[in-house]
């Protein structure tokens, strides 16, 4: 007998399973398998209705985030534990509305992402014929880490503030705003400021940094948030001493 692994997978379908429940499955243990391989084994052979997102299977497209035993993880980058006495519990990411089974609705993030204006804003355009903007490796270092976000939403599932206050822009959106604010080619920080500081969420964020702990790409959104708070605090100080608009 091959060794078997027990899974407990969250099931919900507005049409067929309107009462959410956990369903047990058994899959063979294979030391090369990640959790996603187990889900695909089930889908291919036992139950084609099990629904989950995935694409790249190499931890870069950001589709496959789920809770594995309560922890936000990429299912394609988490090996199946062997000889686990307890079943492995797989659930949709928390803090998001569930569409079906492990698939959650991320429209809220997509709206927020656009609001923080994650693109290069220039007050003066430079024609392409003048070539690239120079940017030294040190200058790049200032934003590079924040540019690695794969929008996997694990940090939102981990963030206690987002859980309580869905208006909070949230870790990844703030990290991406900061990615542009810190870019030597960008001149748009002032335009992003009102959007980011307009809501209390950012001030409610503590130093706990759950987002940073779960981030599979070492983006460190908590650092982005703290950095941003500092700029915003300085800015509001300045606006007290300088006439409006001059800051």
């Amino acid at each position: 007998m091959p060794e078997l692994v027990n899974l407990e997978v969250f099931r919900y379908s507005p049409e067929h399973t309107p009462e959410p429940r956990f369903q047990k499955f058994q899959v063979p243990y294979n030391k090369e398998w990640v959790v996603l391989d187990a889900l695909n084994y089930i889908k291919d052979r036992t139950d084609g209705s099990l629904s989950f997102r995935w694409s790249c299977r190499m931890g870069i497209c950001g589709s496959c985030g789920v809770l594995i035993n309560g922890e936000p993880k990429l299912s394609c980058a988490t090996f199946l534990p062997s000889k686990s006495s307890k079943p492995i519990r797989i659930e949709p990411l928390r803090h998001f509305p569930v569409i079906r089974d492990l698939i959650v609705h991320i429209g809220d993030f997509m709206t927020k992402l656009k609001k923080v204006k994650p693109w290069i804003i220039r007050t003066n355009e430079s024609p392409l014929s003048e070539g690239e903007f120079l940017q030294t490796p040190d200058e790049m270092e200032r934003y590079h880490q924040f540019s690695h976000c794969i929008n996997c939403m694990l940090c939102y599932a981990a963030c206690p503030i987002y859980g309580l206050d869905p208006l909070f822009a949230g870790p990844a959106a703030i990290a991406l705003a900061q990615r542009y604010n810190n870019d030597s080619r960008d001149q748009g920080a002032a335009r992003r400021m009102p959007i980011l500081s307009s809501h209390d969420g950012i001030w409610a964020c503590t130093f706990v940094g759950e987002c940073t702990q779960v981030c599979p790409k070492h983006v460190d959104p908590a650092a982005a948030i703290q950095q941003y708070k500092l700029t915003a605090a300085l800015h509001s100080l300045k606006s007290v001493i300088a006439p409006r608009g001059a800051a």
Binding site: S13, P14, E15, H16, E32, K43, D44, R45, D47, G48, S49, S51, F52, R53, W54, S55, C56, R57, M58, G59, I60, C61, G62, S63, A77, I99, R100, D101, I103, H105, M110, L113, K114, K117, P118, W119, I120, S126, L128, G131, E132, F133, L134, Q135, T136, P137, E139, M140, Y143, H144, S147, H148, C149, I150, N151, L176, Y180, D183, R185, D186
Partner: protein, 576 residues
């Protein structure tokens, strides 16, 4: 019928689709452009590209050299006018991306840095460490967010092109989250749906790469071009097929067999040096390197593994600093997925299906022979890749031709007529077909058919093929095409099984096109190696294969001469 929902509808939100969308939004802000994609755009497989994007910038480099490398790399099957205009446009497009914020790696003075790549005689590959595609895609996606004229259909799946009077007028698509099926009309449609690696069992391609757009165009009557040319990349991780980028060899990695011997020296690819030499040894073209692996295997000099024979890629001599600075993602992938550290250990690799040189036939502006239908990116065949694409040419290709297809489609849309009622009847037919499939029971499991298709393709149309293996594959594919699939899932809400069934039928079309194109080409060129016709035959086959769909019948094959401008067919010389 009323005026269509969109002026330009783009299928696909990968690099090609997003570049096309920006081109339309910038050049014609009054046009209503939409991007429809079966995954959120930033999940598209462009995200996984690692190594880089070629464009001439260095002082010692020239456009002619980039053109020559591309043409000889493609074994003279590239259209040289297309290549010339491509190499001219590539540096501008890459600079444009820099202006949009792409974090290209830099030299100490802050200028763009370039690296070596396979088959390229100069250093001309721009890179963002080894996450080039990721940065390129996210930069493009974030840039599109500033254009309010770009409408998005995220997680919508296109199932059919709508055609009226020979003109493409939109698509039918399923909104995955609700299962709603809708006709989305448009003056012009641009296919940017990417490649089809999933037709094979072992591939670097994501689950979403099923050749959807190739099949959509084919069923609508457009020819597919050069479909027999499937690229095997020489270095994939066994089991997962995760790509170890060519950049690992460009930085100085060695390919060694079971005796620790750099075997490429036995295959007319040059003599081994300590440092990488351009267009030599490990920096030869991918077709030749993958073929060398098979010869090495035949000599018993590869290493058996549970997932097929392997050779080793050795990066240890590069040292931790170089690996961390230039190949951080490769280290992460090896650690996470293969449980080994390339700083101290050898990486097991084997050839893996990677890229489709063929695709929907287009001209240099991205137009297909069907009025109103355009194509760009991996789904298209212009052709600049010929019989073998050079690594790092495809990212600039999708930028250059994505932008051009966007401009051409916008132009066409301005003067197009509104669709007729005929289109409504077609949409109604398609909705019926999709609902019938949704309720199908009692047939074979999708995974069964998929696995059989994939193994038929691997054994019949792999790195080396002949008439017998191809005929066997053709028969198997034909049988699978007539098989009924059944679904476990009959619901409308995010039914991934329903979509997988449709993807499977797209893949079977693509498999059929590959096999029949390969059977027809009785020569060996680039990635198409016929053991029964081992030589290149310019007298008969200096021509593109055009294959046409025929309902219920074997496809029809035709040929179109290659455009030669300045480089008459010659010998491909590497390492000497």
């Amino acid at each position: 019928m009323d005026s269509p929902a969109h002026d330009v509808l783009i299928l696909g939100g990968g690099g090609a689709g997003l570049r096309a969308a920006i081109a339309v939004a910038q050049s014609a802000p009054e046009l209503r452009v939409a991007v429809l994609s079966k995954v959120y755009p930033m999940r598209s497989h462009t995200v996984s590209a690692e190594g880089g994007a070629a464009g001439v910038v260095a002082k010692d480099d020239s456009l002619d050299e980039h053109a020559y490398d591309t043409i000889s790399g493609g074994d003279w099957l590239c259209d040289q006018d297309a290549v010339e205009s491509f190499v001219r446009a590539a540096p501008q497009e890459l600079t444009q991306l820099e202006h949009w914020g792409c974090p290209w790696s830099r030299d100490a003075s802050g200028h763009i840095a370039v690296r070596a790549f396979g088959g390229m005689r100069k250093m001309r590959t721009w890179f963002a460490a080894d996450k080039t595609g990721f940065h390129l895609l996210h930069t493009l996606f974030q840039t599109t967010l500033q254009y309010d004229s770009i409408h998005r259909y995220d997680e919508w799946f296109a199932t059919r092109l709508l055609i009226d009077d020979g003109r493409v007028q939109g698509v039918v698509a399923i909104d995955a989250s609700t299962g709603r099926i809708q006709a989305i009309t448009a003056h012009a449609v641009i296919l940017c749906t990417g490649g089809c690696g999933r037709v094979f069992p072992f591939t670097t391609n994501a689950n979403i790469k099923n050749g959807d757009g190739m099949s959509l165009a084919w069923r609508a009557g457009a020819p597919l071009k050069d479909m027999e040319f499937v690229q095997y990349h020489p270095t994939g991780l066994p089991f997962t097929g995760i790509l170890i980028t060519e950049a690992a060899r460009a930085e100085g990695g060695y390919l060694i067999n079971k005796d620790g011997y750099r075997y490429l020296q036995d295959y007319d690819l040059g003599t081994p040096q300590l440092k990488p030499v351009l267009r030599s040894m490990e920096l030869g073209p991918r077709d030749r390197l993958s073929q060398a692996f098979v010869h090495e295997q035949a000599k018993g000099r590869t290493i058996p593994s549970p997932h097929g024979d392997i050779v080793h890629l050795d990066l240890r001599h590069l040292g931790e600093d170089v690996i961390n600075a230039r190949l951080p993602f490769i280290r992460e992938l090896c650690l996470k997925y293969q449980n080994l550290d390339p700083v101290t250990e050898l990486i097991p690799v084997r050839p893996v299906v990677h890229y489709m040189m063929g695709g929907v036939h287009t001209n240099n502006e991205g137009a297909t022979p069907l009025p109103g239908l355009y194509a760009a990116g991996e789904v298209a065949c212009v052709s600049i890749n010929g019989a073998n694409r050079l690594g790092s040419n495809s990212l600039p290709e999708l930028l250059v031709f994505g932008a051009r297809a966007g401009l051409a489609a916008a132009d066409y849309a301005r003067s197009a007529h509104p669709p007729s009622d005929h289109v409504e009847a077609q949409a109604a037919d398609e909705i019926r077909r999709l609902h019938t499939l949704l309720h199908r029971k009692g047939g074979r499991r999708i995974a069964d058919i998929r696995v059989r298709m994939q193994s038929a393709m691997e054994s019949g149309a792999g790195i080396f093929r002949d008439a017998k293996t191809l005929c066997d594959a053709a028969n198997e594919i034909a049988e699978l095409q007539s098989a009924d699939v059944s679904l476990d899932d009959h619901s409308l809400t995010f039914n991934t099984e329903w979509i997988a069934a449709l993807e499977l039928s797209f893949m079977l079309d693509v498999a059929q096109a590959i096999v029949h194109s390969a059977l027809s080409r009785e020569e060996s060129r680039g990635a198409h190696q016929r053991t029964d016709f081992p030589a290149r035959d310019d007298s008969r086959y200096l021509a593109h294969t055009l294959i046409y769909h025929r309902h219920g019948d074997a496809p029809r094959v035709d040929y179109l001469p290659v455009t030669i401008t300045r480089w008459p067919p010659g010998q491909r010389v590497y390492g000497r």
